[in-house]
Amino acid sequence: MPQPTDLLFYAFAGLTLLCGFLCVANPLSRNPVTSAMFLVLTIVSMAGLFVLLHAFFLAAVQVLVYAGAVMVLFLFVIMLLDLKEEERRKLRKVTVGLGAVAVAAIAGILAKAVSGAVPFGGDKLVEGGTKPLGRILFTQYLLPFEVLSILLLVAMVGVILLSKKDLK
């Protein structure tokens, strides 16, 4: 008798993979906006998988940062650039075929590497709430955390510089 969490796992995993497929290789529409919408669905169902893994804080961050900020940025840029004529171009059969072969090879290597993985935590399972994550973030990982804030500042300055009309 399967447990409800397992049914939820299969539901979220199926939704993630289906929407991921429709994002990169939608047979009906080549419109980037459709891809972006399916990417949102992929990310939200992946947040569901994070909840099933008891990573509650990361699930919230995933929805806030990816489905919120990053997707707004994507849609903004898609609307900013007029990409109507991109839809009409045909995909090359050779490209798609060679791409599929390369992907199958790499997926095979990854599957072989992953199949040997054994959980060595025993029966212990970690809980990833805000409190334990915050504690480890502000003690053990304090330096990387601060470096990350500098990285965000650098990215912000870089983006402003890149999007200026004429550089002096």
Binding site: D6, A107, P119
Partner: protein, 101 residues
């Protein structure tokens, strides 16, 4: 059948393959970027699964860092695409061949 480490890793591998296929097969720069995001997310899923089943919180901290770096990466990349579009009026990789010849 209980959903264990291998189930999550299988989803992660499949999602990574989808992202890679998107990067290799599509020709629109923005959709290629979405493929990159899918690959990063697949890596995140694998890290969270390892973190949960190995009873160690370090993986989740790494995912937190990856999400932040991905946000910075997306903003810089999209700004580059906009700058490129302004100069060349295209966001299509086959039109960008000035380094090729």
């Amino acid at each position: 059948m209980n959903a264990g480490l291998h189930h999550y890793l299988a989803v992660s591998v499949l999602l990574f393959s989808l992202g890679l296929f998107g990067v290799l097969a599509r020709r629109n720069l923005i959709v290629i970027y979405m493929g990159l995001e899918l690959m990063l997310n697949a890596a995140n899923l694998a890290l969270v699964a390892f973190s949960r089943f190995n009873a160690n919180l370090d993986g989740q901290v790494m995912v937190f860092f990856i999400i932040t770096v991905a946000a910075a990466e997306v903003s810089v990349g999209l700004a580059l695409i906009v700058a490129l579009y302004r100069k060349r009026q295209t966001a299509h990789v086959e039109d960008l061949t000035s380094l090729k010849y």
